[in-house]
């Protein structure tokens, strides 16, 4: 299983029946492919849709129905559309049960940086700051390292997305939570040892007394 699949499958286990969930672009989008059988999840696209469905078949797209990246999507039975004020009211107002976002860095106190690299990439934050500040639960889908450097760091060196700490970090190696503001290893991926995670992590990592293996 490749890194992205491990991450997406593990995060999908966080989904519960009836949840309203927003998925960011990249790995987060793949979470929708692994919704556990027997539950119904409402996926929001922040451009104004609840009930976002799969990519339409060739030739069946509608130019007025896209996801937040502007790509054609379908709408599931029971879908609802609305304007951007409503969309972000859902996000900030305590109505969005969970958001899954990508990350550039997560630090040991749970702070997220995911929207710019000064001098290199200044795309704008889009909806990321509202999602990271407003969702009831913030889950980050991120590869553990980039170019051999840990992305789970002692302190974010990139500009923060929110002052509010995230709730859950899932990488291809580990599941990490932040009780009391301290990064704590909860699960390891199949075939990965606790020591391997610690060695691959720049952050000071607490280790739960009951580290489990991800059940994928």
């Amino acid at each position: 299983m490749d890194a992205q699949t491990i991450i997406a499958k593990r995060i999908a286990l966080e989904l519960r029946d009836g949840m309203l969930v927003n998925l960011g672009i990249g790995i987060p989008t793949q979470v929708a492919n692994y919704v556990p059988a027997g539950i119904h999840v409402f996926f929001q696209s922040e451009n104004g849709l609840i009930g976002t469905g799969a990519v339409p078949e060739e030739g069946m797209h509608n130019r007025l129905l896209t996801d937040a990246g502007g790509r054609p999507v379908t709408a599931l039975p029971g879908a609802a559309t609305f304007d951007s004020a409503m969309s972000f009211g859902l996000i900030r107002g305590g109505h969005l049960d969970m958001t899954v976002l990508g990350g550039l860095q997560v630090d040991q106190s749970g702070h997220l940086a995911n929207w710019m690299i000064p001098g290199k990439m200044v795309p704008g934050m889009g909806g990321a700051m509202d999602l990271a500040s407003g969702a009831k639960r913030v889950v980050i889908a991120m590869q553990h390292s980039a170019k051999g450097k840990s992305k789970v760091v002692k302190a974010c060196t990139l500009p923060l997305t929110s002052a509010r700490p995230i709730d859950l970090l899932v990488t291809e190696l580990a599941v990490i939570t932040f009780p009391g503001g301290r990064a704590t290893l909860q699960e390891t991926a199949p075939g990965v040892s606790v020591q391997q995670v610690i060695d691959a992590t720049e952050a000071q990592l607490e280790v739960s007394p009951h580290v489990a293996q991800m059940s994928l």
Binding site: S84, I91, P123, G126, M129, T161
Partner: protein, 215 residues
């Protein structure tokens, strides 16, 4: 409400005007108006919009044509020309969190001076802004936005100017239709009065100043 040709409607917009333009990555952007702005060669525009789309699509055409001096948007990452012109100093860009941007526009249209939001607290977004505490929680004071013109794309407009929208093309459009001195509408379909049921009117006719006639 008056009906105008595309050319006459766009001729109302002077150089240097501030424009709120509906749309999200070009979806729900009034495309004929954008093309006519380029054809008439407007200058020094301020564009308030969610994003600058892609080169060759929607607002991206205004950027490419060099008509824009200021941009207030939440995302420019998919249009490298906006970034290039920003770095070259040809365009001033103010990046605003998307939820804050739409609420600043809503405040402008609803008669409010601004809004309080926790989004951006503790980040670079709070620089230079007033912070207030309400019930023990920190919020940023984000000022209302207002524009000279709102350029709105609706799915249906009736002869009076009542509007309804389709799918994800609604996005910023109905909110912007409240927040500008002059509201110009490009509708995908113009229909007789009564075809949009009262319960389905999203933007009531008195908000619309000009409806662009079909070409």
């Amino acid at each position: 409400m008056r009906t105008l040709t595309l050319a006459d409607a766009v001729a109302l917009i002077p150089d240097g005007a501030s424009l709120m333009i509906g749309g999200f990555m070009g979806v729900g952007t009034p495309g004929r108006v954008v093309d006519e702005l380029v054809r008439q060669g407007k200058k020094d525009l301020t564009v308030i919009a969610n994003d600058t789309a892609l080169p060759g699509i929607g607002i991206g055409k205004l950027i490419t044509a060099g008509l824009v001096r200021n941009v207030i948007a939440s995302h420019i990452g998919l249009n490298p020309e906006t970034q290039k012109k920003m770095i070259a100093g040809e365009i001033q860009v103010e990046l605003v969190p998307q939820g804050t941007l739409i609420e600043r526009i809503r405040a402008g249209g609803f008669g409010l001076g601004g809004i309080l939001t926790a989004t951006g607290v503790g980040t670079v977004v709070e620089e230079g802004k007033q912070k207030v505490q309400v019930s023990g929680k920190d919020y940023l004071v984000e000022a209302a936005l207002h524009a000279d013109f709102a350029l709105v794309n609706a799915f249906l407009a009736d002869y009076l100017g009542n509007l309804s929208y389709a799918l994800t093309a609604r996005n910023f459009n109905p909110v912007m239709a409240m927040a500008a001195d002059t509201v110009i509408v490009e509708a995908d379909n113009i229909v007789p009065v009564g075809l949009i049921a009262p319960d389905h009117v999203v933007t009531p006719a008195p908000l619309v100043d000009y409806l662009i006639a079909q070409g």
